[in-house]
């Protein structure tokens, strides 16, 4: 079954007529994604790669039955577009957009959670259910179908670790980019819960990084609820305090050094997670639990 997305999911692309929207729509279609519509206000009636474009999400839902939406729109347009999307009844939003004001993210997070709409991102490479469909920008040649679920706070590291798993004969079920902002829509525990229930996933890899408390909360969840093995790598062992390391969320701050990777690693190790010191070591740790195909 995999999680969140499969080959049947009816996908909408918002910002489909933009430069990035066009290119990525082609690559998502090439991968097999069931893209049923695109939306760009004022461009209704056009087509991109054979996909019909609508002015509003409500039209795309009414006429094409769109149920999930991937965003390639500018940060300034995000808040209104997201409200419109939630109101139109879409139940999964994947927000690739970077640099959205954090107050807008908080507003949409509250709005979406009141309506039970799941949102992934922002600043995420997206979601790929390997061999079936992708909503996002990840290069398809990094992945191969298999039984490892991947949750990553970093886009590029999800590619790095997936290609290393792939090369070693370990495929992936679904790979989810969490998003790299200080406030993101979904949490690691929320995604772990989905993988724990997924009959196509045998093991979960968490790719964390310096900053925030996602990994610490993941450790608590794993301790209470996970039966499947978990392997992790946390990036940024020696980053200087108080510097944002490219991601808004990747920062060590305050007198207690909140967000340091060593405390994340310790918390995860304590609940039985195998912690890799370097990315490719994830493959070695996976071998303790699974045999390559």
């Amino acid at each position: 079954m995999s999680i969140l997305l499969n080959r049947k999911t009816k996908v909408l692309v918002q910002g489909i007529t933009g430069r990035i929207g066009r290119v990525q729509t082609k690559w998502m279609l090439d991968y097999g994604t069931n893209i049923v519509a695109g939306v760009t206000p004022g461009k209704g009636g056009q087509e991109v790669e054979g996909v019909p474009v609508y002015d509003t999400v409500a039209e795309a839902v009414a006429e094409r039955g769109a149920e999930a939406s991937v965003f390639f729109i500018p940060p300034k347009a995000f808040k209104e577009a997201a409200r419109q999307t939630i109101d139109a009844g879409i139940n999964l939003m994947v927000v690739i957009t970077e640099h959205i004001p954090v107050h807008d993210v908080m507003e949409i997070r509250e709005y979406a959670s009141e309506r039970e709409v799941r949102v992934i991102g922002p600043t995420t490479p997206g979601i790929i259910t390997v061999g079936e469909a992708k909503m996002g920008i990840m290069p398809a040649n990094m992945f191969s179908p298999g039984r490892i679920g991947v949750i990553s706070r970093s886009g590029t590291l999800s590619y790095e670790i997936s290609i290393n798993l792939t090369t070693a004969g370990f495929g992936q079920s679904t790979v989810v980019g969490m998003g790299a902002d200080s406030v993101v829509f979904a949490s690691i525990p929320e995604l772990l819960k989905l993988f724990e229930r997924d009959s196509d996933t045998d093991l979960v890899v968490i790719i964390g990084e310096v900053g925030g408390v996602q990994e610490e909360n993941a450790a608590q969840f794993i301790d209470r609820w996970m039966t499947k093995p978990v392997v992790t790598y946390i990036a940024g062992h020696n980053v200087p305090e108080g510097k944002r390391m490219g991601h808004a969320g990747a920062i060590i701050q305050g007198e207690h050094g909140m967000g340091i990777p060593q405390s994340k690693m310790a918390a995860l190790r304590e609940v039985g997670v195998d912690v890799a010191m370097y990315p490719a070591e994830v493959v070695e740790l996976v071998k303790r639990h699974l045999t390559p195909s």
Binding site: I100, P125, S154, G155, G212, V213, P240, G246, G249
Partner: protein, 380 residues
């Protein structure tokens, strides 16, 4: 973007919060003039974008004009946590009988604003929360509904305030929440809010940080971002549109993502020392990578450049053209090693190989770094 104390004060005042009069001075003589105009005694306060001013001796009360000049001269000569003091604030000394701590910030994990109030101001609220939790109230706030007056009052009563003080402090908390929301703040903090011997309330220190991604919608904040980055190379990085953090080694890192950049740091640190962290985000073009090469090679004594890029949203073959053009034009002779995977990877390898860049023939960064280390050892 962090604001100076006086900028924070101005925002508080705009939302109806009482703040003391102040004047700025960049020289001891100026400080004296300002103090004379405001009336003695005054407090001389370093204006820097970091905490720890008290401990560093950056805040001092002065009772005579001579003392103002003397303290201003001393404080203007300080460097506090790497920030040279370029301005001091002169503000009348306030006789306070009670201090409070007020803050509105973001609980990042829950993705929601949180308001914090402590009846013990002036000191570390974290310590108070541990030692005397009954003196601290905190509360999640609905970002859609805002901080309701009833919620603010409940917080005040929760830390033991009674009578008129409840509504006075609650009003301050509401004003602070407006600063937080109206200016897209990541944190808005007053430490302390003072009740004076006359019964007035005054915000004596403001700490405000604004979300960089929201600056486009705040033309009223005519603040320059670049002057707030003390490191030249980091400022240059910002100008060309990348994140650069200077480190103390000699192997330059160029990565197309933050996670990959940090992982590269982790791996290189095993046997060599990274000179910097650099990540391009999803905006790679030939020109950007040309500028990136220029940036990382500005630092003295670089022994090699390690490029680690993925073609997802980034056209890495275009980026490769910029790298090799820079190398040709500037006759770069130190080793440049590139690991490049994803869309257009073969094309990228070809551009690199034909122009003297070593291409990593493995999918792991560990192997790439190993190859670089061997190359550098071979050169010795």
């Amino acid at each position: 973007m962090k604001l100076y104390e006086f900028e924070g004060n101005d925002l508080l005042r705009r939302e109806g919060m009482p703040v003391p009069d102040y004047a700025l001075a960049a020289t001891p003589e100026e400080a004296r003039e300002r103090a004379e105009a405001l009336g003695l005694p005054v407090v001389v306060k370093a204006q820097v974008l970091t905490g720890g001013r008290w401990l560093a001796g950056g805040v001092q009360t002065a009772y005579s004009l001579e003392q103002v000049e003397e303290e201003a001269r001393r404080i203007l000569g300080l460097s506090i946590r790497g920030w040279p003091v370029q301005q001091v604030m002169i503000t009348p000394k306030v006789d306070n009988v009670r201090e409070f701590y007020l803050a509105v910030t973001i609980d990042e994990y829950h993705g929601t604003p949180v308001a914090v109030l402590s009846a013990a101001g002036g000191v570390s609220v974290n310590r108070i929360a541990l030692e005397r939790p009954e003196e601290v109230a905190s509360r999640y706030v609905s970002v859609i509904k805002g901080l309701l007056p009833s919620e603010a009052r409940r917080m005040c009563r929760g830390v033991g305030l009674r009578g008129a003080e409840v509504s006075r402090v609650a009003n301050m908390l509401s004003a602070l929440y407006r600063v937080f929301r109206n200016y897209d703040a990541l944190i808005a903090e007053i430490n302390p809010l003072a009740r004076t011997s006359k019964g007035d309330y005054l915000a004596l220190d403001a700490k405000v940080e604004i979300d960089d991604d929201s600056l486009y919608r705040h033309p009223e904040l005519t603040l320059s971002l670049d002057s707030r980055i003390p490191n030249l190379l980091e400022r240059k990085g910002r100008e060309i549109g990348v994140t650069y953090v200077e480190l103390d080694g000699d192997i330059a890192i160029v990565a197309s993502g933050a996670g990959l950049g940090m992982a590269s740091m982790d791996i290189i640190s095993r046997r060599m020392r990274p000179a910097n962290f650099l990540e391009t985000g999803g905006a790679i073009t030939a020109e950007l990578m040309y500028n990136v090469m220029d940036l990382v090679l500005r630092k003295e004594g670089i022994r090699a450049v390690f490029i680690n890029v993925y073609g997802g949203i980034n056209p890495i073959h275009e980026g490769a053209k910029g790298v090799v053009r820079y190398m040709k034009e500037h006759q770069v002779t130190i080793p440049v090693m590139a690991k490049a995977l994803g869309n257009h990877q073969e094309e990228t390898w070809e551009i690199f190989r034909n122009n003297g860049v070593h291409v990593v023939n493995d999918v792991s960064t560990e192997k790439g770094v190993e190859q670089l280390a061997l190359l550098l050892e071979g050169e010795k």
